[in-house]
Symmetry: C2
Subunit: 276 residues, 2 copies
């Protein structure tokens, strides 16, 4: 296949590197900053620096841009895409992009299959991209009306570059689950490090500080977009969390050991049941 990767940040760069490490596919890299594209070419992460015209050669196009930027990019460049090519994205929210990309696929004659690679780092940009970023990670596919053959093709591609499991979902379920599994921990991490204690933690901290605070090193612009486009499920999960914290606070304030133990034991049981 000829694969065009649009946007060479941590995700796009890692796609390119993983494709070159695992497959014989030809990779066309398209990026706003030419310096980054040149670096990717020098690294052997891409075979060619592409432009709008290159889209016509690609069998698979992977959009690794911010959510709204994906929609804007296809709106502007969709006419250059080969008929029948598969287009996917890597957006962390789906209701805000899938319906629009699906509509654009009909207008321009390509096949849109949504996806979300469940991997990342607390740092951003091409410089921290890695061929192994997706190793063993979950790959979520939101088919959004695409034909089974195209969905199967994307799934096979994901497995071929190292993803460990494939989850089929729809935009609603995806966004509800991601609010919990990914967005909530990012909100928590930021709220956590804003305590006046944080700058003084060294010498008093260990693994639990490190783990909860890790993703506070956040890309504020990207995550603001992700949070605001997923307002309802996210605020719901935050409310559930605050409720659960409040029950624990009450038990602690009242010195109610029995209730406190029971609440903590519930947490323990969930993890045990999940085998974690």
């Amino acid at each position: 296949m000829k694969i065009a990767v649009i946007g060479l940040g941590i995700i796009g760069g890692s796609y390119c590197k993983a494709i070159k490490a695992h497959t014989d596919h030809y990779v066309i890299g398209i990026n706003r900053s030419v310096d980054t594209a040149r670096q990717a070419l020098a690294d052997g992460a891409i075979d060619e620096i592409g432009c709008r015209e290159s889209l016509g050669e690609a069998d698979l196009i992977i959009l690794c841009l911010y959510p709204q930027a994906c929609v804007d990019y296809i709106t502007e460049n969709g006419a250059a895409i080969k008929k029948g090519a598969i287009v996917t994205d890597a957006c962390g929210i789906k209701r805000a992009v899938c319906p629009q990309l699906q509509a654009l696929s009909k207008a321009f004659g390509f096949v849109y299959v949504g996806s979300h690679p469940m991997a990342g780092k607390e740092k951003n940009g091409y410089a921290v991209s890695e061929a192994t970023l997706f190793e063993g990670a979950s790959f979520i596919i939101t088919p959004c009306g695409a034909d089974e053959q195209s969905v199967a093709k994307l799934e096979e591609f994901a497995r071929s570059i190292g993803f460990g499991s494939i989850t089929l979902s729809d935009p609603e379920e995806h966004d509800r689950m991601i609010a919990y599994t990914s967005q909530l921990p990012h909100i928590l991490a930021c709220a956590y490090v804003l305590s006046p204690c944080c700058p003084h933690h060294k010498g008093f901290s260990a693994g639990s500080y490190r783990d909860v605070s890790r993703v506070a090193n956040i890309n504020a612009k990207l995550w603001s977009e992700l949070f605001l486009e997923n307002q309802t499920p996210l605020v719901h999960e935050l409310d559930v969390l605050i409720d659960n914290i409040s029950h624990l606070i009450e038990a602690i304030e009242e010195g109610d050991r029995e209730r406190l133990e029971a609440l903590l034991e519930q947490g323990h049981q969930v993890k045990q049941m999940l085998g974690e």
Copy 2:
């Protein structure tokens, strides 16, 4: 030195193994369940299974019991301790144990130096103890009026078995900082996994779920004691956290991108400043 380790759980067991791995000290293991002590002897983690009488031979006694159990143990067995021996504990809270152990040290003629090894796991018991558990970890010492020589001796001992840094503190500061660095992440983890979404996370989750939820696999009995004995600093930190989360919720609910970005950027800046 002859060192007596009281309580062979994850912390006590790891002390024994680290001492045997790094030093020539003779280790006496004392444990309520004899089976565990026999296992430790078979593993070479201890040189001898001890009893009350063995306390008289020990130059250093490390109490690896629950907080109140440390006080009870010394109240009952303090008379058997050699005059001038150093006694330390491993409790995760200090105001609730240090004054009492300090008073007992005066009554019985040993030297009490409080300490807290900043290491642990999301599992408990001798079976998960490891010689490397303290490798590079922080060792907090609360001298509690002990002479400088004894404090220096405990510090040297901690370095000799692999601890990476020593922090000198007092019970008040210790408990305030630990409420933030350790207790808060444990409360959060439990509150987090109590969401109805949690049992369905697989296929939708990655590192941020794993990190925030890790310590929810909690020892409910131990941590209830730690939380209840540190009520005021812990509830204060929980209130600070809920305030910070609430500001983020407000910005999300109001669709206030500028404020949301500014709040997230503050989190990012804290982590940048700390070089994390």
